[in-house]
Symmetry: C2
Subunit: 210 residues, 2 copies
């Protein structure tokens, strides 16, 4: 190994990156096939590491799933403070901007926009309580991040009796998750876009914005 410092180094991926790559690979594979159908070997192959690395960083497949759920929550955070629409003055504009943003993601291949959490919880909720709880926390975090703008919109424009901000946030999440499921049946995002369009109309009607 004389030429270590010049010419092309072995192009090995940097040491210490295996954990993050495994989580990214888990997101990708589980979104496509669900949790149970995704094997540890598949995740390792997609991440470009070996099984040794996998079990060095994670106690089990289940532990990776929990870590991946937490990472997914973090990944979603920029949606709530880094995007242009979050800077708008009117809270209803911010809310509608968020829904529009989610709408705009619904293009291209289905595995490109589906939700890791929603996919995983479907076939793991009954078999792994720790995975279920991680998914519950992730969804709750999303809804709580969405709630303040809804709350402010309710203050500014009023809202139907008995409706709460968290309520509506969960409904928004519900429509998105349902859209993902339907898009998987048709293998096409159009059906999900339709549904989100209904959601937009509903939100506008609630707050009286024609």
């Amino acid at each position: 190994m004389t030429a270590t410092h010049s010419s092309s180094p072995p192009a090995r991926t940097p040491r210490g990156s295996a954990r993050a790559k495994l989580i990214a690979a888990a997101h990708q594979e589980v979104r496509r096939q669900g949790y149970a159908a995704t094997t540890v070997d598949q995740i390792c192959a997609a991440a470009g590491v070996t099984k040794g690395a996998f079990f060095h960083h994670f106690e089990s497949k289940e532990a990776l799933a929990v870590a991946a759920a937490e990472a997914w929550t973090e990944r979603a955070r920029p949606m709530f403070d880094m995007l242009p629409h979050t800077k708008l003055e009117d809270p209803l504009d911010r809310l509608l901007g968020h829904i529009d943003f989610r709408f705009s993601l619904l293009h291209g291949p289905v595995d490109g926009f589906t939700c890791f959490i929603g996919t995983m919880v479907q076939d793991a909720y009954a078999t792994s309580e720790s995975i279920r709880l991680a998914c519950e926390a992730s969804i709750a975090a999303y809804c709580e991040a969405l709630a303040p703008d809804i709350e402010a919109a309710m203050d500014a424009y009023g809202a139907p009796d008995g409706m709460t901000a968290l309520d509506l946030a969960r409904h928004i999440q519900s429509v998105l998750q349902g859209g993902f499921v339907l898009a998987k049946t048709t293998n096409d995002p159009a059906i999900a876009r339709e549904s989100v369009a209904h959601l937009t109309r509903y939100v506008r009607m609630i707050f009286g914005r024609t």
Copy 2:
């Protein structure tokens, strides 16, 4: 074997019932764990038959899944012509009655009301085209069964520009599927009921029924 003709017979399940029992077992098991996580042995055990019977009636696990999807569609049919609300005169009443009925199912343990189709398509759409198509057909059948009442309500009460009956039917299905996913995260149907309540409000607002 002297007492063959009297006392308790071996109580064997009737010949010819294995196929139906396997499909029912598949519904139950797949709804709880998803398609990939459910093993053939599990389905056989739940159905009370052996593997021999399984592969006598179905060419493969995949073939059973397709047959079970078709059976699920049939199982849903009575929702559209046997229930009291389907006899109402006003099409909007029939539509709202249907949604109320779906709402009323959202009680008790999660595996009691979730959708076999929605659960299965999540972890099989990318790996089995035949299963995906069977799920697509089942969802389409549901939406088409729902569409006539929506169409009639649109004729009677008017509807927003650009909205179609099939559109709204798919949105209803979307909210239900999303509700199932969220209910799995919390292991509680309350979150799904909330979402369907929003759906009811939306439908009423669209057709101007306060």
